[in-house]
Symmetry: C2
Subunit: 264 residues, 2 copies
């Protein structure tokens, strides 16, 4: 979305579906995510929580030059208070609920903008977005800390210790962050240790703020396998045994669930 | 420092002092800050706190091709636990103490990396660096929030409310930050309001972490006038009446104080 103007989406889509079009007269194309943003292909106005994950009946249909394309953009969700939005995750949740329709609890979708979502009676009742991942990425690539964080190694003990430290006392986070740089300068602390520590500090700040009423629920983690393992370890410190759900096909499953409305 | 290789410092210095050299046979040049970093002109090993602000006797002298230059680089300070470093601020503090040698209390120097420094009996006993300013700069120029923060306006009420919110409850900061973006999307909230709110959230996180034993001291603010006003407003919420010290000549005053050792 951030690299396409509205009139460029159709051509980008055609690159993907050309082969399928050749062997089919007309094909429905179901889209979720940022293509429905105001600056995307065509704005799909947010559905407001509490609501079920939106499907085809809430979708918008952009005009296409190629009449063989029958395109639907599924809207995202908005929450008025506290103000929050999502685009794309609602379809992942729909995919998850297609397999587990009776799920009651919290779904956490870690990523650049991690979503924490409460689900009850097939309805998304409330959600919160944390920009932990984006802050990690900016600090480790653009800030003064970048000099001390390169490489690939990982130090699980440093990660856990940093997590526990910040969950216990979140207030001193902005001086702890600078201390990462100072440790590199004064103690030649290894990059793997410092990167794991940064990750622990930032995730600790997020988990410390999720709130007890959320943590008392059954908790499911959906996302990149490396990232969900970090969240699982963090939640364990808070006494939560989160269940990891394989996310490989979950977006597809959500789109397929929407498609089922079309052919029903 | 970040744009010069070690061998390029002398030429950069010459651009500044050429005129003075023409009318003087030899001139002493006193340098503070990042020129003394490991990747700078010549490393000036940190002095360890507790100590008085370092002066000429701790300085290193880089070799210069031009023999008329007599160059001294004043070292920065290090603190082993919690690990922390500064380069440049020690000379500002020296300049401040030159005028107020009996000062006892806390000096706060707001900036990209804000320094909080305890001074007692002409000695720097302890300090902490907060990277609040750098996080503000990264979030407002590089993150998803950047779309909602442009322009020049300011909303003092939004700033104060955000400060109070985070001082009271620092844990939810990473979802509050995303909420800034959501407010722009859902309520068309003005950029001035949102930028002031971001500033309040981040400064609140810093001030909430400074610690009572620091806040019980006499507090002096030294730095950019706009920034120190924000810190003063924040400290007022915590019941602290900080004194603002004009910083215009304070680095010069510190360098002059070092020079006095030379001609004594």
């Amino acid at each position: 979305m951030s690299r396409l103007r509205p009139e460029e989406f159709e051509a980008a889509l055609m690159e993907t579906v050309e082969d399928a079009l050749r062997s089919n007269g007309q094909i429905p194309v179901i889209v979720c995510g940022m293509a429905g943003a105001r600056e995307g292909w065509k704005e799909a106005p947010y559905s407001a929580v509490p609501c079920a994950p939106p499907g085809l009946s809430e979708a918008v249909t952009p005009q296409t030059r190629d009449v063989r394309l029958q395109t639907f953009i599924i809207p995202g969700l908005k929450q008025l208070e506290p103000a929050d939005v999502m685009r794309g995750e609602e379809t992942q949740i729909s995919g998850f609920l297609a397999g587990q329709p009776d799920f009651e609890g919290v779904i956490c979708l870690p990523g650049t903008h991690t979503k924490w979502v409460r689900v009850s009676d097939r309805t998304i009742t409330e959600f919160h977005t944390h920009i932990t991942g984006e802050i990690f990425s900016l600090l480790s690539s653009q800030s003064v800390l970048r000099h001390s964080l390169g490489g690939e190694g990982w130090d699980q003990d440093a990660f856990i210790e940093a997590l526990e430290t910040v969950i216990k006392d979140p207030t001193r986070i902005s001086s702890r962050l600078f201390s990462i740089r100072a440790k590199a300068l004064l103690r030649n602390t290894e990059n793997a240790y410092l990167r794991s520590e940064l990750s622990g500090y930032l995730l600790g700040l997020e988990l410390g703020g999720v709130g007890q009423k959320w943590l008392d629920q059954k908790t499911v983690l959906i996302g990149d396998s490396r990232l969900v393992e970090l969240y699982r370890a963090g939640l364990k410190i808070l006494g939560i045994n989160a269940i990891i759900v394989d996310d490989k096909d979950i977006t597809l499953s959500g789109l397929r669930h929407a498609y089922a409305e079309l052919v029903r």
